[in-house]
């Protein structure tokens, strides 16, 4: 049985795949210092992940993927992970990343600062070392950068995966999962400036348990135009299967922009290609919005209630299970990680045992005075 977890980090992203064979893949990281306060509803991600790893008796992830370099996807990561490129980030209690996955943009972006820069340095270091990294897409700019480092594209080609390919290192037979890359396309970074959200990593995971396949569409912060591109390209290649989903990570904290150009009054109308994508949700499908609770009123920033309405309709229309919001699960005062079990009977959103004594005793108690 595999499981997928989504952590309540507010308007941010952090999810984890734990495979039946024990391998762990963490996608994005967002730890805010304020969340360490018991009064803050957001999870103390650092402590929670640490506890999980401790229970599993390990100090590393097989893969840590950053879908793009925005703050809400990397916040606090340089305090948490062991970084190979500089001693400052190598204290013994840091969590190791056996393999780092980044879109090419994260290596190529110039003029960045803060944690984005630190992670860029780490990715560049690993790429130069030629190990512990996977870069998604190989735009011309990357070849240029490598040349500047005295390296050839060919010498690093095995560490790069393009859209339309499967990620090496995982397969349905030994790991029970394969990852198909939808994005980034090289064109996303070969323009004048790098559009982070457009160049973000989008994967489609297919889990297999016995003969049951369960599909997880993992979309970072992506807008409707990119999604439409992906749908059109994938369909034109006859790979509709790679767009079917049982589990869907809603892009950009339930922003209407992931559906269409107009927010709408009650409901966002998706562009045709995105509507088609939503229609690929299978019976019992689950939509996860990694965001703050859905507001009742109209707001400028995501989550947008109009978009939420569209996703709720999707669940109803597809005879799905649930549209779940990380900061509302199971309630908005004290949200808890969402866990989806994936087994021979498909995906199952865990709803039992989230409340009461069994949960209290599964983690350290709040601070007593």
């Amino acid at each position: 049985m595999h499981s997928v977890k989504f952590y309540p980090v507010g308007n941010g992203d952090c999810s984890q795949i734990i495979l039946a064979n024990g391998k762990r893949l963490l996608f994005d990281y967002c730890h805010r210092q304020q969340s360490e306060d018991d009064k803050d509803p957001r999870i103390d991600l650092k402590a929670a992940l640490r506890q999980e790893l401790q229970e599993a008796n390990r100090d590393n992830y097989n893969v840590v993927a950053f879908t793009h370099g925005d703050d809400d996807h990397i916040a606090g990561s340089t305090d948490f992970f062991y970084l190979e490129h500089a001693k400052t980030y190598q204290s013994a209690d840091r969590i190791k990343m056996s393999e780092l996955w980044v879109p090419a943009a994260m290596i190529l972006e110039d003029g960045v600062s803060g944690e984005t820069r630190v992670l860029r340095q780490e990715a560049r270091y690993r790429l130069k070392q030629g190990k512990g990294i996977r870069v998604f897409s190989k735009p011309d700019k990357l070849e240029g950068w490598l040349r500047a480092q005295g390296l050839t594209l060919q010498s690093r080609a095995h560490l790069m995966t393009d859209a339309g390919q499967l990620v090496p290192g995982f397969n349905k037979v030994t790991d029970g999962v394969e990852f198909f890359v939808h994005s980034p396309f090289s064109k996303h970074v070969d323009g004048g400036t790098v559009q982070r959200n457009e160049a973000a990593l989008i994967l489609h995971a297919t889990f297999r348990v016995d003969s049951t396949e369960t599909r997880f569409l993992m979309i970072g912060d992506t807008e409707w135009a990119v999604l439409a591109d992906i749908v059109n390209i994938t369909r034109s290649r006859g790979r509709d299967d790679r767009l079917k989903w049982d589990l869907y990570n809603i892009p950009h904290h339930c922003s209407y922009l992931a559906l269409g150009p107009e927010k709408g009054t009650d409901r966002t109308t998706p562009v045709d290609a995105v509507q088609w994508l939503l229609d690929q949700g299978q019976v019992g499908c689950i939509l996860i919005s990694s965001s703050d609770p859905i507001p009742n009123e109209d707001t400028n920033n995501p989550p947008h209630r109009q978009a939420a309405r569209t996703y709720r309709d999707t669940i109803k229309k597809n005879n799905g299970d649930r549209f779940e919001v990380t900061m509302e699960h199971p309630n908005s005062t004290k949200p808890k990680p969402i866990e989806i079990k994936i087994g021979r009977d498909g995906a199952k959103l865990i709803k039992l045992g989230l409340l009461g004594a069994s949960f209290v005793t599964s983690k350290p108690s709040p601070r007593a005075g």
Partner: protein, 753 residues
Amino acid sequence: MNTHAVEGQDLPLTAEALTSPQARATFATLQWYPYYRLVAAKSFEQFGSHYDALIVELNPELPQIKKYDIRYREPLALCFDHTDQRLPRVQALRKDFPLVPHVNLVPTGAPRELCLYAEPPEVVRLTWTPPEFLARIATWFAKTATGTLHAPDQPLEPFLLTSANEVIVPHDGLDLCQQADKRLIAFPIIRDEQPSRYSVRLSWQPVQEALKFPWVFYALVFRLSPREHGLIHDRPRHLHDLTTLLAKESPPFNDWLRAQLRELFSEKPRPRECDWLLLLLAIPQQRESGGSVERTERWAFVVGNSVTEVALAVHACGKSPDGFCVPLLESPGGQTFDPNSLTAISLEPLRVISELTRTDANCLSGVAPHESSRACVLIGAGALGSQIYVTLARMGWGEWTIVDDDMFLPHNSVRHVLGDNCVGMYKAHALQRTADVQLPYNQPRNAIAANAMHFASNPTLACALKDAEVIVDVSTSLAVARALACHAESNARRVSVFLTPSGGASVVMIENADRSYRLDVLEQQYYRAILRDDRLRDHLQGHSETIRYGGSCRDVTTVIAQDDILLHAGLLAKQIRRGVEQDEPQVVVWRSHEDGSVDRIAIPLSPPRMCEGSGWQIRYDDALIERCAELREHKLPHETGGILVGYFDALRKIVYVVDALPAPPDSLEHTTAFIRGVTGLRESLEDIGSRTARLVHYVGEWHSHPMGIGVQMSAQDRHLLQEIADEMRFEGWPGIILIAGDRQQCALYLQTI
């Protein structure tokens, strides 16, 4: 979605609109509890009770592939009795809700009701809270969807029939081939204070028996074809429902019923107008469709009309001109019933409960089959014996023969399983008679009212002992225990149990499997433990009070409370059960204390030894030799010695040497001679006598020889033995000396005058 409408009056969605406190509390919880959506509130009346109903939609935890068709949105009615006297009922409102295990039986067409609790309502109510209730419903759905509510190793779901009344069916089943003169007849057991609550006891009886009762139920058993378990949930309301439900069986139910009733009315005597009908359905259950039959579920219904009326309604019989109910001939092509006349014949379901079988009793008590069939003889059916016997027999442990020649007298009632109705009877016979009625699944093999010692002249007794695997002596008589141990012809393991005179301690002695430690030897070592272990100092001290119940000298009984008897009977029964499972010999003492605590002392046992001379046997053991060797070792190169204590069995000419005492301080211990002193000896013997209820006393002398001398008697030793024998003659006993030498060598010499 096609759902059952909840009848009744709409209520506003406020807590105040609800009457039931549980409903209000649940209403409040639903405001924040996840995965539930409150849709509406209603109030309705059913069977004279008023209910609040909360209509909710549950989003259960479901995998995409489900064992049963549970949906992502399930409409439910949570129905709360206004008085909160019952647990809330939960109805699944979807009309196409699947047939799943663990739902309550409801009348055909009614919404399915979840069976949420295995515990009785009064227990559930102790911990019932609205969140727990909602969580339990959510769990029910989650587990039902995955088919895990019923664990694979759990027995198939028993028929969950919510009926106030029950029928007890015979342990030999409903499957006996009917004997010509016997029928399944049920007698009602009506409880006066509550006439609507009754039990029906079903048994195979000659038809004539029925006439002895004012009215009875005739029972008919219909056998269905095998089916998957837990999947029949419609409760037939009347005979028409049942005929419809079973129309596809072979033969169809109505044909079968008509044939059965026709046959019933062809017999003499016929059912009377006042007799009723009980219908039983036997439904073979499979875990999965097409699998093997794991158990047979049984349903029972009391038919609301007399057997005569039913026979007429189904055209099995017709009225003769003189008003008798006579069987009709089978009309060609069968007959169809008038549905209306069958709708009028109501069915009241009964819970079906089987009589206890020996296997059930074993299972319920954790007794293995080989223990169950062990042939046992109980010697002594007194206070302790009767309680031990009943305790073991109840569990289906052992097949028993009861031996006791005593009569039950009024004062026995205080500490016996039997009571005043048995006064004047032999205890053995009375116990057997009581067991026959109370424990029909483990009736005693036999009861012999004879003195257990008289096995030589009582062939029945001799035979019972010979066939036994275990003989349990509770006679509280040394004579019996020793006679049984030494003489009775039997390979059975002997067990002896008794209470000490004060009733404050009990003892069990169990021979080892190959009987190399016989009861008499265990008794001997038990005495040594009393001498050596200070915890047992007062073990055999009697209770001072005795009570006379009759005029003769022997009509004395002691003061022991029944609670003490029961406490020790339980401990002893358990030890007997465990002890005979092991091969080793065991002697165990339990002491009960004033504060209610009980402690257990396991007596150390030592390999027995025996030697013979002058027509006597001397029984001793390794522990005695070790003691002498130890004392000798301590004094070498000087000799040492002391007295031997033990007892004699004149009947069998056996000396039991229990222990050797160290030399009194005024003894002379030379390198070549030993003269035993006397200082403190009297006190020692007094202590020994008092500890052992005067059973253990002086039996002889012992002394050690220096190194390399051997254990042969010297001239002096011979003289000593002669002297002792001369003295002991006045008590009628032989003289005995023991000589201890190197390497734990020792020799015992006995001389009679």
